[in-house]
């Protein structure tokens, strides 16, 4: 944000209470200590505290560090000088599917979640579709702020900030960039008190600098590893692992598992034309989730060949947990060869995805029943 000329509150990261104390001495007190976690609602959870003295900052940091917020442990805090805020506003730019363009959102009601303002006071929200050839012209930015009813100092300074925010959005290939709140301080400064940016995964190859920013705590650790391994994996909370080729087909397989009475543990798309090694890697990856008790594989062969998939399943057998049921459904190219390979290896296969889903759920239930009586 700073690079685009957006005034942001100065702040430094501390990972220990002693560091927080040193930063507080450097900035001067009072300071605010903010938990650094990638979830909303940290204020309510006690993740934002104040230090009136350097020692107070140390104690506040000690309380926040190690705190658990929505399942994430706080390992870092941001220490910023406390400023007296007079009013708070919202500035944002988001990729809008319906407009097929970035849309700027401005509201004089800032500091709260914008979705709530949109629901309860929609008249307080202004929307403007950005012409991607020009970005947001400063004149358009000032016009929007004037229309939103903010004081004239904010029309001038906030307009420049909003225009720069759109520039930052476009230059970094973002899908969302927001300043919430944009603060007007008691001494007449206009600063971005907090900000958030979400980048487009598809653009990371040309955004090398930002690609390095992705951090494992951002998502589930398995999802993060999967991305690095080139697998499209989403962690869910059930016990039936699901692997298939093509996003729509995998999504439909999840629905089919649910209809069969199971709970899907994940979404994993191996993509088109996968070889045996990719299939084996995918199976072993899904099995790493401790909740997974069985895996269903659903392949509609086009470019992907059934015998490659079957070979991959057989290859993974020796490294999979003993007794973990696998049911495969192979159809299309190479289905006869693939099914024969699986049958020879003593593995279960289903003719269609409904049968495969029913079989995996039945096998898991049978295993659990055995476990319960043993």
């Amino acid at each position: 944000m700073r690079r685009y000329g957006i005034p942001v509150s100065p702040g430094k990261i501390a990972t220990t209470p002693a560091e927080a104390e040193a930063i507080a001495r450097e900035f001067g007190v009072p300071v605010v200590i903010k938990a650094q976690v990638y979830v909303g609602g940290r204020g309510k959870a006690g993740g934002i505290q104040f230090g009136e003295t350097p020692e107070g900052a140390r104690d506040a940091a000690a309380r926040v560090l190690g705190m658990d917020i929505k399942g994430l442990t706080v390992e870092k805090v941001l220490v910023v000088p406390k400023v007296a805020i007079k009013e708070e506003y919202y500035l944002g730019v988001v990729l809008d599917r319906a407009s097929q363009a970035p849309v700027v959102i401005v509201s004089a009601a800032g500091g709260v979640e914008i979705e709530e303002v949109a629901e309860h006071e929609p008249e307080k929200i202004l929307r403007h579709v950005v012409d991607v050839r020009w970005g947001l012209l400063p004149l358009e930015a000032r016009g929007l702020l004037a229309q939103s009813g903010v004081p004239s100092v904010v029309v001038a300074k906030g307009g420049a900030i909003l225009s720069a925010l759109v520039q930052a959005f476009m230059a970094s290939d973002a899908t969302l960039a927001e300043i919430n709140p944009l603060a007007l301080t008691e001494d007449g400064q206009v600063v971005a008190a907090d900000a958030k940016i979400v980048l487009d995964d598809n653009a990371l190859p040309r955004q090398k600098e930002f690609a390095a920013w992705a951090e494992p705590e951002e998502a589930n650790p398995l999802e993060f590893e999967a991305k690095a391994a080139g697998l499209t994996y989403v962690k869910l909370d059930g016990n039936v692992g699901v692997i298939g080729n093509g996003a729509g087909l995998v999504m439909t397989t999840l629905d089919m598992v649910a209809r069969a009475g199971g709970r899907p543990a994940n979404f994993l798309d191996i993509g088109g034309g996968a070889k045996a090694e990719v299939m084996a890697k995918a199976l072993l990856f899904v099995a790493r989730d401790p909740q997974v008790q069985g895996i269903v594989v659903n392949i509609f062969g086009g470019i992907t060949r059934g015998e490659e998939v079957a070979k991959g399943i057989i290859l993974a057998q020796r490294d999979l947990p003993v007794g973990m049921p696998i049911v495969a459904r192979l159809s299309g190219t190479g289905e006869v060869e693939g099914r024969a390979l699986l049958a020879d290896a003593g593995l279960t296969w289903g003719v269609d995805m409904r049968e495969a889903a029913q079989k995996i759920v039945a096998e898991i239930n049978a295993n659990n029943a055995k476990g319960a009586t043993a």
Binding site: V234, M251, G272, I303, G332
Partner: protein, 290 residues
């Protein structure tokens, strides 16, 4: 008859010398499609599969009389390839490429307002007209000539459902995969309009999924159609805020959920299949009624 593509269509392939482009050019030729050339900047004057390769779409169009372009250009150059086809006034452009940065697609969307081409995709399997051939990557052997139109956001799910229809003896007039990205050139409602106007098509199957509001918009239009529409929505078990493989398949807050789409379709009187296995029977039933 068919929509968008028939046996008179003349196809060029942008990115024809790449691995994907070459592989699927062979597949298109095998399906009977009249592929007449290709474009790869820097490879002009060469030949692949007996087809001439040009440096620019302008040359390719002038030399071959092509009226369809199929794009296999890698993601970072694909938006430019779409705009090049549009710049040359190609009537139909089909972009298969997955992974195009969405900001590039906002530029494409703005560009197409001034340089019209019918864009299918990106991030799609393309389209097929059984009996005439295909543009893209669909496995052609699953189709059967007939009079049911098919439109879907997905690739393999399309093949799965088309195979079920064919097995049940329900042939297809044309099959369009519109793509899984948040910004696409042709939406469900566009395809429904084309099928409504096509004398060969008597009914339409529409397979949607979570994310966006295309299915809801299409429901309102389907209600006004003279031909029956049977629908299916994928992603009923998808949690909020998770992107399910397709860049566009995400439930954001209350928007884009499978439940909302199913309700919108049912409210418009469009039957929604519980599973894909119910689709062929529902199509037959709809045809008996109409």
């Amino acid at each position: 008859m068919s929509i968008l593509f028939d046996s008179n269509s003349r196809v060029i392939v942008q990115g024809i010398t790449g691995r994907e482009g070459l592989y699927h050019t062979k597949g298109m030729l095998a399906s009977g499609t009249r592929v007449v050339g290709g474009v790869t900047p820097g490879k002009g004057g060469s030949e692949v599969e007996g087809l001439p390769v040009f440096d620019t779409v302008a040359e390719a169009k002038a030399q071959t009389g092509a009226n369809v372009s199929c794009i296999f250009v890698p993601p970072m150059g694909a938006a430019d390839a779409i705009m090049e086809a549009a710049h040359e006034g190609m009537p139909l452009t089909v972009c298969i490429t997955e992974g195009i940065p969405v900001l590039d697609m906002t530029r494409v969307a703005a560009y197409l307002k001034e340089h019209p081409t019918r864009l299918i995709g990106p991030n799609c399997p393309g389209l097929a007209t059984p009996g005439a051939g295909k543009v893209g990557i669909m496995p052609y052997h699953i189709f059967k000539e007939g009079d049911v139109g098919f439109v879907s956001r997905s690739g393999t799910l399309t093949y799965e459902v088309v195979a079920l229809l064919t097995q049940a003896g329900v042939g297809q007039s044309s099959c369009i995969g519109i793509g899984g990205d948040p910004i696409i050139g042709t939406t469900f409602i566009d395809c429904l309009r084309l099928f409504e106007a096509d004398p060969k098509t008597v009914a339409v199957v529409m397979c949607g999924e979570i994310g966006g509001s295309d299915e809801e918009d299409a429901a309102a239009y389907a209600k006004t159609m003279s031909k029956p529409v049977v629908s299916f929505i994928s992603g009923r078990t998808a949690p909020e805020g998770k992107r399910m493989g397709h860049a566009g398949a995400i439930v954001s807050g209350k928007a884009g959920s499978a439940q909302g789409k199913v309700e919108a379709l049912q409210a418009a009187g469009i039957p929604v299949a519980e599973t894909i296995f119910d689709i062929p029977g529902m199509v037959k039933q709809a045809l008996r009624r109409s």
